[in-house]
Structures are given as structure tokens and as C-alpha cells.
């Protein structure tokens, strides 16, 4: 709704006064930009909880034996940490925040195809998050199965698992609806003249991601329902005592959860593909190769789930197949890294904060990727399976990949989203502390895992002490960096210098609208000409 003096294309989305006031103007808004911020603040809230739990785990591990919590509490802490970080932060992560905010603007649309369904997705997100939290606050103890809810323990554990399982189920709906919305938006609402191969790479990455969200998420939904039925009615699908197969649970769980890794990482790669050409002031190298590799990752990523199960007792034939496919999926990721580095080659590099985050993303992602090959090879996997090595690997990929890309993206699009510029010096200080802390926190875990320290244990042998002290110290440094980043961004959103329309001299469409954008983004829908393109420097 609009007043006579407040035309939608004249007032920015932050100041727009509609039918509702106060918080209702946000939680009832169907504007994609406001929904993006709703997601961002909800995720930030959950992220604070997840980080606090992670810090508690590292503090427990600073010395052998009991330090601050007993083993059962430790089991509960790593379970809730995992559920929050995976299902509420990194899976919705970039699509829900930057996808929602930027996708329509980048393709020249006024909103997503189904704005009301978009808001419904956020409601599902909040409902799912509340259900998971309720499993901690009520019932017979916090879930202790790990975020994977592995059978048969997930239906034998006496803890309050049902709300957590149902919460993850509801969160899945949020993901599916967002995916559906993005697919339709990209197919139907691109600006006139913006053909598929003129579309920027971030929307392309969201397109690949959306298909995974749409097709893989129902599998985890049904699987979690089966676990709930197993707990309540003993139906015998996964329970070996009733003729069920617990390895079937692992198959079904990872049929979703491995593609989910690509739900996390593809949009991160998309954001990096926007940042690097901008701060190199150069056309992206291998535009089509990046698109093909995005779709190849999305496709091949469906068929590699078994590498999480090499020691589960599945057949040798399946093991060989999954191992080969895992090595194949590394190829398109390597193509992207090659393209990003080639884009920087002979570019006019501007080392602003988003660029620093992007290059560190490449660095940590490659460490995560190469350590993934150790886990993808059958012979080495057996030695490091379920050790701290695996924890280091997936934190380099998931937190290193998604986290660094998220921080890169927020520093890149911040002036557009809030119309103000952050303090650039503090942004770089925050990045430096975070990066040093991150590497100090997770690198020792590779060594600890190689030496045989198991994951998910609250205690360890004395020979693992030094590595764990280093890791805990790293967690403090990283959190200090995180605090600097968050405080800098919050202060700047309110008091930062006014940002221009295009402070980075980017070429994509979001940098042609005012900062912050007006309610419906464009006064007139832009038209792409023959020679227009997203990276024509």
C-alpha cells in the first residue's frame, strides 16, 4: 500500500511506510529485500548460539578429561551446534539472504515470482528453528545423536529428539519453497534481452542450487518422518532387530545431505564469481565454463553421497563407484578456481575487504577440497574416517567456503543493501583476525585426526593436548575477529558514510539502482542490448 506522496519507485525499501507499522511492516512484508533481511537477522541470532556452543566445545577440549562439561552435555552441545549451523545457517545461508535480496535486481525484475510464498518460506524457517530450540528447552534432555540423526541410535536415544527431527523437516519446506521460487523467477522474469548466457553468475549459481533444493530436500523430509515413525510405532524400516536396515538410513540421509553441501557452496561460488571480476576490473575468465561447471557440480553432486559411508559396510562395488564419482566432482570445482585466478591475472586489483574475503575463500576452499580427496580415496578414508581430520575438512569447506563467501558477499553488497559504507580499515582488521583465528582453529585438527584422535569425544589422550590447546586459542582469535566484523557492520548500517549507487564500479544490474534500492527496484524494467553483459569492463 502506498500514500499519495510515497510512490514505490521513489522511496527506498527501508524507509517505505506501508499498511503495517513497526515490526509488522517487516514480518508481513512480501518485498524480497525485507524478507532477505528477516532471514539475515534470524540467521544471525541462531549463528550467535551456534558460535557459543562451538566455543564451549573448544573450551572443553583445551585439556584432557572433564573441563567444563560432562560427556552427555558434550554430546548434546555438538548435536545442537551441528543442527543449528547446518540446517539454519549454511543451507539457507547465501540463497536466503543474498539470493532473495539480489536475484530479482540482478535479473531486472521487481520481485520474485511468488512473493507471498517467499514470506511463507521465512515463516517455515522460524517455525523449524523454534521447534529445534524447543527440543533443548523441554522434554527428556537435549538430543545427543549428532546432526546426522543416525539410525539406530536416533530411535533408541531417550533424549528429546522428535521436536528436533520435526524442526529439520519443517526447515526443509522453507528450502523447497525458496528453490521453487527462484527457478520460476529465473525462467520467467529475466529482463528483456537478458538471455541465459547474459545472466550474471550469481543468479546462475542460485539456479543450480534451486534445483538441488527442490529435488533433494524431499528425501530428507521423508527420511526424518520414517525415523519419527520408527521411534513412535517401531515400524522396522531402519531397526535391524525388526528386519530393517540402518545403512538404508545412511543412504537416504546422504542422498539429501551431500547435495546439500552444494546448496551451501554453489551460491558461495556464485558470490565469489561476482566479487573477483569487480575487484579485478576485468571480464570474468571462462564465463561459460563457470556456468557449465556450476551445473555439472549440481548434477554430479547427486551421485557421490556414498563417500560418507565407506566404513558403513556397504558393498565394494558401491564403494568403488562412489569413490570414482567423488573424484569426478572435484573437476568442475577446480575449473572454477582456475577461472577465478585467471580473471585476476593482469587485472587491476583493488584489495578492498570483499576481495580479501574472496581470495581467502579460494585458499581455504582449496585446502578443504584437497583434504576431501583424502576422504574420497578408499584406502586413506579408512584411516581418517570419524576422526578430527573429517571435522577439519568439512569446516574448511562449509565454514571456510560458505563463511568466507558470506562475509565477502556482505562486504560487497552492504553499500547497496543499506545505502551506507562500512569502515574499510576495521573491515580489514576483522578479516585478518578472523582468518588467522580460523586457520589456527581448524588446521591442527588435520594433524590430530591423522594421529588418530576421534571426533565427537569430549576427552583425549595426552599426546593430543598441544594440538587442542592451539585449536582452542584459534577459536578465541576467530571470535574476536567476528566481533569486530559484526560491530563494524552494525555501526555502519546506521552511521556509515552515505554510499553511492556504484561504489565498486561493478557492471551488474543491482549497481544501476539507488542505494538502498526502492521498493520495486526499477522505475522501468531495464532492457539488455546486443552488446550488454554483466562483466563488460
Amino acid at each position: 500500500m502506498q500514500t499519495a506522496t510515497q510512490l514505490e519507485h521513489e522511496v527506498n525499501y527501508l524507509d517505505y511506510k506501508g499498511k503495517y507499522k513497526g515490526i509488522f511492516a517487516w514480518i508481513f512484508s512480501t518485498d524480497h529485500k525485507r524478507i532477505a533481511l528477516l532471514y539475515m537477522y534470524s540467521m544471525l541470532t541462531m549463528f550467535v548460539v551456534g558460535v557459543a556452543l562451538g566455543l564451549a566445545m573448544k573450551l572443553e577440549l583445551i585439556a584432557p578429561g572433564k573441563t567444563i562439561m560432562d560427556p552427555q552435555t558434550y554430546n548434546a552441545v555438538f548435536t545442537v551446534h551441528g543442527v543449528i549451523m547446518i540446517f539454519m545457517i549454511v543451507i539457507p545461508g547465501l540463497p536466503a539472504v543474498f539470493g532473495n535480496f539480489m536475484l530479482p535486481i540482478m535479473i531486472g525484475a521487481k520481485d520474485v515470482a511468488f512473493p507471498k510464498i517467499n514470506l511463507l518460506s521465512w515463516y517455515f524457517y522460524v517455525a523449524g528453528a523454534l521447534l529445534v530450540i524447543s527440543s533443548v528447552l523441554f522434554g527428556n534432555g537435549t538430543p545427543d545423536t549428532g546432526w546426522t540423526f543416525y539410525a539406530p541410535y536416533s530411535f533408541k536415544s531417550g533424549t528429546n529428539l522428535l521436536p528436533a527431527i520435526f524442526g529439520a523437516f519443517v526447515l526443509g519446506f522453507s528450502s523447497i519453497l525458496t528453490g521453487l521460487n527462484f527457478i520460476v523467477t529465473i525462467h520467467r522474469m529475466r529482463a528483456p534481452g537478458m538471455t541465459w548466457f547474459k545472466m550474471p553468475l550469481f543468479p546462475w549459481s542460485l539456479y543450480g542450487t534451486a534445483w538441488i533444493q527442490l529435488l533433494a530436500t524431499p528425501v530428507i523430509g521423508i527420511t526424518l518422518v520414517l525415523v519419527a515413525l520408527e521411534r513412535i510405532f517401531n515400524i522396522g524400516v531402519f531397526d535391524p532387530a525388526l528386519g530393517g536396515d540402518p545403512i538404508l538410513y545412511q543412504h537416504l540421509f546422504w542422498i539429501y545431505s551431500h547435495p546439500a553441501v552444494y546448496v551451501m557452496i554453489l551460491p558461495a561460488m556464485g558470490a565469489i564469481s561476482e566479487i573477483i571480476p569487480t575487484f579485478s576490473q576485468k571480464h570474468i575468465f571462462g564465463y561459460r565454463a563457470i556456468i557449465v561447471s556450476t551445473l555439472a557440480i549440481a548434477f554430479v553432486g547427486y551421485f557421490v553421497w556414498g563417500h560418507h559411508m565407506f566404513t558403513s559396510g556397504m558393498s565394494g562395488t558401491a564403494q568403488y563407484t562412489f569413490s570414482i564419482l567423488t573424484f569426478i566432482v572435484a573437476i568442475p570445482s577446480a575449473i572454477k578456481v582456475f577461472n577465478w585466478i585467471s580473471t585476476m591475472h593482469k587485472g587491476s586489483i583493488n584489495p578492498e575487504a570483499p576481495f580479501l574475503w574472496a581470495v581467502t575463500f579460494i585458499f581455504v576452499f582449496m585446502i578443504g577440497g584437497f583434504s576431501g580427496l583424502v576422504l574420497g580415496a578408499l584406502a586413506t578414508n579408512v584411516h581418517v574416517h570419524d576422526t578430527a581430520f573429517v571435522v577439519a575438512h568439512f569446516h574448511f569447506i562449509v565454514f571456510g567456503g560458505v563463511g568466507f563467501a558470506f562475509f565477502g558477499a556482505i562486504h560487497y553488497w552492504f553499500p547497496k543493501m543499506f545505502g551506507r559504507m562500512y569502515d574499510k580499515v576495521w573491515a580489514k582488521v576483522g578479516w585478518a583476525f578472523f582468518t588467522v583465528g580460523f586457520l589456527t582453529l581448524y588446521s591442527p585438527m588435520f594433524y590430530l585426526g591423522m594421529m588418530g584422535m576421534p571426533r565427537r569425544y569430549y576427552d583425549y589422550l595426552p599426546e593430543f593436548h598441544a594440538g587442542n590447546i592451539l585449536s582452542t586459542l584459534g577459536s578465541w582469535v576467530m571470535t574476536f575477529g567476528l566481533l569486530i566484523i559484526v560491530i563494524n557492520l552494525f555501526r555502519s548500517a546506521k552511521n556509515g558514510a552515505i554510499a553511492s549507487i556504484n561504489p565498486w564500479n561493478s557492471k551488474t544490474l543491482e549497481w544501476t539502482v539507488p542505494s538502498p534500492p526502492p521498493l520495486e527496484n526499477f522505475d522501468e524494467i531495464p532492457v539488455y542490448g546486443e552488446k550488454d553483459g554483466p562483466y563488460e569492463y
Partner: protein, 94 residues
């Protein structure tokens, strides 16, 4: 949009489909009474596939929709069968 043809399916076709779906549901239950060994899953999958095709084609109107949408659904079906096939590389060779 006004120029698009809207195909109207007669009610009796919907009833035939419904009857076929109910019949195949009973047949998929009945097949579990026959000991087909390792092929019992295959039997159940065949009935489930036939039922899905009927629902997609008539109830969801795919039969009368643009070829592009049929290709998309076909691609998704292929993906689904590939996932099933790879899963059974474990079960048949375990």
C-alpha cells in the same frame, strides 16, 4: 496466454485413471505375497512408476502441456532412477 489451447479432459477419463490407480495399489500389495526374492523391490517400483506416470500425465496435465515441461520432468525422473540404481549397487553386491 489467451491464445493457449486449454485441453479439457472428460470426467470419465479421470474415473478410469482413479480405478487404474486403485487397482495398481492392490496389485502392488498383492505382489508382496509372491516370493520374488531380490526382485520384489523391482516389482513394487514398476507399479509405483506406472502410477506416477498416470498421475503426472492426466491429473497434473503433463500430457497436454508444453514439451519443454515434459523434458524437465523426464530429466528429473532420470535423475531419480539414477539415484535408485546407484543405491542398489550397494544392495545387490553387498
Amino acid at each position: 496466454m489467451e491464445n493457449e489451447k486449454h485441453h479439457i479432459v472428460p470426467y470419465k477419463v479421470y474415473i478410469y485413471i482413479l480405478v487404474a490407480l486403485i487397482a495398481m495399489t492392490f496389485m502392488s500389495i498383492g505382489i508382496t505375497k509372491i516370493n520374488l526374492g531380490e526382485y520384489s523391490v523391482l516389482g513394487a517400483m514398476i507399479f509405483a512408476t506406472l502410477k506416477s506416470i498416470l498421475v503426472l500425465s492426466w491429473f497434473m496435465h503433463l500430457k497436454f502441456d508444453q514439451p519443454f515441461l515434459r523434458i524437465m520432468v523426464g530429466f528429473v525422473a532420470l535423475l531419480f532412477f539414477a539415484v535408485i540404481f546407484i543405491t542398489f549397487l550397494d544392495y545387490y553386491f553387498r
